[in-house]
Symmetry: C2
């Protein structure tokens, strides 16, 4: 046995334990380790491959779960016994290729795999707040001073009633949105609202319109559901043009329009009041429901919250989605959907087949938080800090990438949408940026804007922002040479 012949590749995307499992599987199947033989001990293999023992344990567990080896305390890891020749282990690979859910976009998986590595990558990619912006102290205080002592059984799948009542007050007060508790369903973030709408109200083959560029996770979701996704060009100044919808509808019979009118992800634009009214009129005229995704309105840095479509919707056209993920903490997993009561009932019923509703504990935390004066203070503080981070990013871009980029400064949201001034190979630059230790979302992930990219200024710590831009400029220099003068 010459273990020096093979070593795991630490640069590869496959986790090391899985590389080791694959390697050992090959050696078992090749007959090097016949049925019943004992594999090298965890300690020995770890030393030979220069990895942690836990990594070898994971690899051997993987082989065990595939039915290739048996493991018993004291007697080590053995190649599966006499029966191994005749046993048909389920062909998991084939099962993994089945299923109605499509895997997520490769670039997003790549970003995640980078973020899972221990090396300190600066993260402009994840669309969320940094840990210091979460209301950690408030949540800890709530848990401590008023620990949940309510019912711990199955809750109404429409959501914990005190939270729905708190949300109804919150929506009226902060967003001028009228929604009674009976017309609200609490969801695991905006994502689950989108998921429920997609699977309960639409069918494979249905045509839906989305902004281009738009929120990239929804694209996988729509494609998994077999929807025909049509793109509405959103210009960088004004967002989508409602009149484009008519032409699209005439050709494709739109079943739904998905839009994020305020501080749109990724462009940051706010649809003007005039375009909002026109959008509602067009939707009303043709009877097309609008799904309004509204995660960012309350981040408006100056406190002037742009009105959601839903607050202007007299005709009941709008299914309204919001969440605490971008304005408080994504780990609470609290989102909501305001919709006609019959729609809410249908979605709550379907959910009994999916997850049976959310835990009452974070719902209770959210209700207490929204009803406390703490939320108001938290929000004011958050706006100041977000504006300051955005400003730091602009200063860094101007200093370290002079003449290379163009952008419009948004008045809210978590993201800066940046355009390169010269032609750039989007994915090659991204790979180089990863090597320099910085990640962001390349424009091609969102649709057709490969000359753009999204920097989430909320996610890195304040002290990482400049260094992140320095790394990005280094990546650009290596791929495309110095800035042309």
């Amino acid at each position: 046995m010459n273990e020096n012949m093979w070593k795991p590749d630490r640069q590869a995307k496959t986790p090391i334990y899985r590389q080791i499992a694959g390697h050992m599987e090959g050696r078992i199947r090749s007959g090097e380790f016949p049925p019943g033989s004992v594999l090298p001990s965890e300690r020995k293999l770890a030393a030979m491959l220069r990895v942690n023992r836990t990594t070898v344990i994971q690899a051997y567990e993987e082989l065990r779960s595939l039915g290739l080896v048996e493991r018993a305390v004291g007697s080590g890891t053995r190649v599966a016994g006499p029966a191994a020749g005749t046993v048909k282990t389920p062909n998991w690979r084939q099962y993994l290729e089945s299923g109605t859910f499509l895997p997520n976009v490769p670039a997003m998986r790549r970003i995640r795999s980078e973020l899972n590595v221990e090396a300190p990558v600066i993260d402009f990619a994840s669309g969320e707040l940094s840990a210091d912006l979460f209301p950690n102290d408030i949540v800890r205080k709530l848990l401590q001073e008023r620990p949940y002592s309510g019912y711990l059984g199955y809750d109404d799948p429409q959501g914990f009633r005190p939270l729905r009542e708190a949300l109804s007050r919150f929506l009226r007060r902060y967003l001028n949105v009228e929604a009674s508790e009976s017309s609200l369903i609490v969801t695991s973030g905006s994502q689950q609202s989108l998921f429920l709408i997609t699977h309960c109200l639409l069918q494979p083959g249905d045509a839906v319109a989305v902004e281009d560029p738009s929120y990239c996770r929804s694209l996988s979701l729509f494609e998994s559901a077999g929807l025909k996704v049509l793109r509405l060009r959103a210009d960088r100044r004004e967002g989508l043009d409602p009149d484009d919808i008519v032409a699209l509808h005439r050709r494709h019979r739109l079943k739904m329009i998905f839009t994020n009118p305020n501080f749109q992800n990724p462009t940051g634009t706010v649809l003007s009041a005039e375009r909002k009214r026109r959008l509602l009129d067009v939707a009303a005229e043709w009877g097309i429901p609008i799904v309004e995704d509204d995660p960012f309105s309350l981040t408006a840095f100056d406190g002037n919250v742009p009105p959601p479509l839903r607050s202007m919707d007299a005709g009941g056209q709008v299914l309204y989605i919001g969440s605490l993920s971008k304005i408080a903490a994504s780990g609470l997993r609290i989102g909501w959907l305001a919709a006609p009561g019959s729609v809410v009932s249908r979605l709550a019923d379907a959910r009994r087949q999916m997850d049976f509703g959310l835990s009452t504990i974070p719902q209770w935390v959210a209700a207490e938080f929204l009803d406390s004066g703490e939320f108001d203070r938290h929000l004011r503080d958050l706006r100041l800090k977000l504006a300051y981070k955005l400003d730091s990013l602009r200063v860094a871009l101007d200093a370290h990438l002079p003449g290379e980029t163009e952008y419009r400064v948004p008045e809210g949201g978590l993201n800066l949408w940046v355009q390169w001034r010269r032609p750039i190979d989007d994915l090659r630059l991204f790979e180089q940026a990863v090597r320099e230790g910085v990640v962001y979302v390349p424009g091609s992930v969102y649709g057709s804007d490969a000359d753009c990219f999204r920097l989430c200024f909320a996610r890195p710590r304040l002290d990482q922002i400049e260094e992140g831009v320095v790394r990005l400029s280094e990546a650009l220099r290596k791929i495309a040479g110095p800035t042309p003068s």
Copy 2:
């Protein structure tokens, strides 16, 4: 206007606010209230219909969400204006009939609507613990003494790592199941594990085998996913016969077997060690994965936990599902799936399109709870109390339904599966029982056993058990006459 002409029906299944909305909608559409006219004030209509003002507000909100009326503070509720004739409100009814998710079984919806009413119905239907069996004090103490102060951002969609580590220790210690944290995914109860497996590993048209009778919620789930559900007859003494699988597989090419071998729901049977081994052999021989749903093993009243299939599975055939719902508290929404690492990764990736994982807070509570000595004490206490409740139910059945029923006394689980000795109209009896103020699950909901029914003895309070059986015997007497002597 003669409001005396119509009143909401307080006995009807439709919520009162929705009855009022429907009534007012009819009057608007009939032209009684033309566009622009003002509807009766909330206070006035409430007085006329003798309902709470909040009920009228809900009704008017429903009309608003349907686009039929406009509401503004100070100017009341108006029928939608001049545009109302041309505006096409989305045809929500049509959307509600779309979607890939089938509504749940009518009898289950009926049970839930009864339980939502304020009247004190005795509940033998919900398959869960009564509130006094939850570890309320332990959870409150945990929240108070060690309030969560960890990261509040997006978590690994595979689940909070400290919980996966705690689960790995827990499964080894209590169930003799070896599963590393990397082979576990934390889910929102067993339901979400089933949902993920169904949608990520199977395709419409795939044949799966389930026990008959079996867990009724999974049937809707499977049908929504377009699976071909084949029933494996489970006899009341010994459960399913593994040799039946071969014949079924030859005809239908089974893609998966779903089973609940320990304290099966609803029958309470435990598959013998011999049948378990045979089941694993058959599955291995034909390469068919088994999904083992194991919510009840730890409830074994005498503490002799029957071994899960997964603990006997050398060949990696078994996807193993468990949860805290039946042994601690369903409202925590903590379940898990142990599976090969590649399967876990696929499911965790798909989940980013669904709910983006669970809140960290209940996951942290669960981890602390499992790692504390409190879990052990809780479990011993739970077993005693469950056994005592079951005993009370038996005594009550023998006293109040003498000669009418037959059952085998289970050694664990939450349910007693009871057979009527004489022919009974299953659903007619159920309707009568509802009128008497008691609910349970009629056998026909589970499959083909319309002469049986399930009583969950864990759910009613101890002091309700006898009264519940008295009400049931009253229902039987009214439907079928006195016990034949």
